[in-house]
């Protein structure tokens, strides 16, 4: 975990750093390679839900941006979109780890992807 950096005091910067760091899991998540099937299923569900949420938020941001002035659009492009995109990418990656672990343990592929 040598990629983990101390908080900068700027939540959006911290989020962007975390977003770029796919090794960073959630509290209590553990390592996919060491997990049981039950644990892997649980975390796959967690990441499925949060990824869906981030994607919906990103869609909503982009939808709302269409009706804004140039200044507002530019600001949102700089301050919100990259953070949400980075977060979503991290969650997608983590979901991939757990998905692979479920398949490894159970041999079942996710049907809802």
């Amino acid at each position: 975990m040598d990629k983990v950096k101390p908080p900068s005091g700027r939540p959006d910067v911290d989020a962007a750093q975390r977003g770029g760091d796919w090794t960073q899991g959630m509290d209590g998540e553990g390592i996919p390679g060491d997990s049981t099937l039950e644990h892997a299923l649980y975390w796959r569900q967690i990441y499925t839900e949060i990824l869906a949420m981030e994607e919906k938020v990103l869609d909503r941001i982009r939808q709302l941006m269409n009706t804004q002035s140039d200044e507002v659009r530019r600001e949102v492009e700089l301050t919100n979109v990259p953070v949400v995109v980075a977060q979503a990418e991290r969650f997608r990656q983590r979901l991939g780890y757990w998905d692979a672990r479920v398949v490894q343990l159970d041999g079942h592929h996710r049907k809802d992807r």
């Binding site: 900068s8 700027r10 939540p11 959006d12 910067v13 911290d14 989020a15 962007a16 975390r18 959630m26 509290d27 209590g28 998540e29 569900q45 967690i46 990441y47 839900e49 949060i50 949420m53 981030e54 919906k56 938020v57 909503r60 941001i61 709302l64 804004q68 002035s69 200044e71 507002v72 530019r74 600001e75 949102v76 700089l78 301050t79 919100n80 990259p82 953070v83 949400v84 977060q87 969650f91």
Partner: protein, 182 residues
């Protein structure tokens, strides 16, 4: 690439401008940004509530980011409101509790001045009677009728000095000082 910059100016923004229109422009930009982020914040809050606990914790980051950005925009908005009052020629003297505007002058009572100062410091935001009692006067023991009485008196002062602002009252939201423009 990521910008975390509460209270920092946006590209092209210059608080030293002498143009009233610039001030109005940036007030409108920050008001739009606040409205935009408020919409996103509400959406994220609703969605986060449906997540499981570990995911809620991870998603709380999004909420913190948006809240911190909104605080920054509010600071800039308040700075621009202060600037627009300067450009408008409004001068407020807390020592003598005097307000001057374009050649006119009025001496205010302590409570009148406290209320005006409070509303000037928080323009375009609404405050209920109890919030005004507690925050503008720091005396929640006063009767709500007192607020209505002082609002009437402040409206007269605004009118007498031709200050281009309305002390409006919206049901369910409270009172707000709304700049009208020259």
């Amino acid at each position: 690439m990521i910008k975390g910059r509460p209270a920092q100016a946006l590209e092209g923004e210059n608080l030293e401008t002498k143009r009233w229109e610039d001030a109005r422009h940036w007030i409108s930009i920050y008001a739009d940004l606040l409205e935009f982020k408020r919409g996103i914040l509400d959406r994220v809050r609703r969605d986060v509530a449906n997540l499981q606990v570990p995911a809620q914790k991870a998603a709380a980051t999004d909420l913190k980011i948006i809240e911190s950005q909104m605080q920054g925009y509010q600071v800039r908005l308040d700075l621009w409101y202060g600037r627009i009052w300067e450009l408008q020629g409004l001068w407020v003297d807390p020592t003598g509790r005097v307000v001057r505007h374009q050649g006119g002058e009025a001496a205010l009572t302590k409570r009148e001045f406290q209320l005006l100062q409070f509303l000037l410091d928080h323009p375009h935001r609404y405050f209920t009677t109890s919030q005004i009692l507690g925050q503008a006067w720091a005396d929640p023991a006063l009767f709500p009728e007192e607020v209505r009485n002082y609002v009437r008196r402040l409206r007269k002062i605004l009118r007498d000095l031709a200050i281009p602002a309305d002390l409006v009252n919206k049901p369910g939201r409270g009172y707000s000082l709304v700049f009208r423009g020259p």
